[in-house]
Amino acid sequence: MNDHLSLTVLGWIGIYAPVALGAIGAAIGCTIAGQAAIGAMMEVSSGYGRFVGLSALPSSMSIYGIVVMFILNRSVTPINAGGLFGIGVLSGLTFLVSAIYQGLCCASAIAGSKSKPEIFGLALAPAAIVEGFAVFAFVFALVAAGGIPES
């Protein structure tokens, strides 16, 4: 009975982890990049919009988390709980860490491009590369989720 309960709990954690961890990471990443945007706006007299837009980039991680949660969402049984837990928690952790580091990349891009606006496009490259790794985790979480039994 206890084993059954534990497995069910793990399964539910797995289902909700991607959105929870992704949202936490996005909040931290957007805070870091947003603070840099505010700092840059203190120094420049125009082009505020692109700084604010860039600082919202890490929020994509919470969207990936939501999609993974919907894909994983099903009745939890002892048979599928392990798979739900593994895919959910690991993809959630990937979104969490990616969002934080993407926030740092965005902050650097903002700080660098405030005095050299011509590098703005190129300065986005590190943040885009981090996004790419998160997309790998996202896509393969969807692929792997296809192999988890429905009940």
């Binding site: 870091i32 603070q35 840099a36 505010i38 700092g39 840059a40 902050a107 700080a111 405030k114």
Partner: protein
């Protein structure tokens, strides 16, 4: 690396190269206003380091002592300040930065004393700081003070001193500090360490860009004093009508 000062660092302009700027990219007033974003505890730690780092490398402290009629008193005050700093501040990067600056100052002080004709290391007075003092005292008569392995630039500094090229010497020392700051800056973008390194760099740029202006103002004051002195003497010997 904790991105604690993202706003502050993003609000500071890039400083560019050390010898390129004619003036710092941000004024002292504006910089002080931006530093109000620092946490009070960090501000306190930073102030302790700035009191030491803002001292010149070519003997401001000793000049301060000489102007008060006590040669060497300025050095002693600086060393007291450094001792207090090392007692109170435990931040690794700040300590490393101050240690490096004091080491440079100690080496330059020894080289200048030797260049002035002092045949032996000074005894009974505070003239340097840190573990280098004992080595320098043992190897006083050697050209590189027994430190050529650790500090290969000493030979160049000796040459610049012998040719009385003090600007060249200051340039060399500034370059060494700049390189050390480059090394320490690795991995620090938006944390307290990044703020400290930015300020240290700003201080160098500001000092270098003011170098000629300061020298010119000093020379101007000397000329004015000399001119007024002659004028006063002339009036003094002029018979009253």
């Amino acid at each position: 690396m904790s991105p604690r000062y993202t706003t502050l660092m993003a609000s500071l302009p890039p400083l560019g190269g050390l010898f390129e700027a004619r003036e710092p990219a941000i004024s002292r007033l504006k910089l002080q206003s931006r530093l109000s974003l620092l946490h009070p505890h960090d501000r306190q730690r930073l102030n302790g380091a700035i009191r030491i780092l803002s001292q010149g490398l070519l003997g401001d402290a000793s000049q301060a002592g000489e102007s008060s009629g006590q040669p060497g008193r300025g050095d002693a005050l600086l060393l007291e300040e450094a001792e207090r700093f090392f007692r109170e501040v435990d931040h690794p990067l700040l300590r490393q930065l101050v240690r490096h600056r004091l080491d440079l100052r100690t080496i330059v002080a020894a080289l200048r004393r030797r260049h002035r004709g002092e045949a032996e290391a000074p005894r009974g007075q505070a003239w340097g700081s840190g573990p280098l003092v004992a080595t320098i005292e043992r190897h006083w008569s050697e050209p590189s003070l027994g430190l050529a392995g650790l500090f290969p630039w000493i030979g160049e500094a000796v040459l610049l001193l012998e040719t009385n090229d003090l600007i060249g010497l200051e340039r060399l020392l500034f370059s060494l500090i700049w390189r050390e700051l480059d090394r320490l800056a690795q991995g620090h973008n938006f944390d307290f360490e990044a703020v400290v390194i930015y300020l240290a760099r700003w201080s160098l740029v500001e000092r270098w860009s003011n170098y000629d202006a300061t020298a010119a103002a000093q020379r101007f004051r000397q000329l004015v004093s000399a001119g007024l002195g002659r004028f006063t003497d002339t009036l003094a010997v002029c018979p009253a009508r």
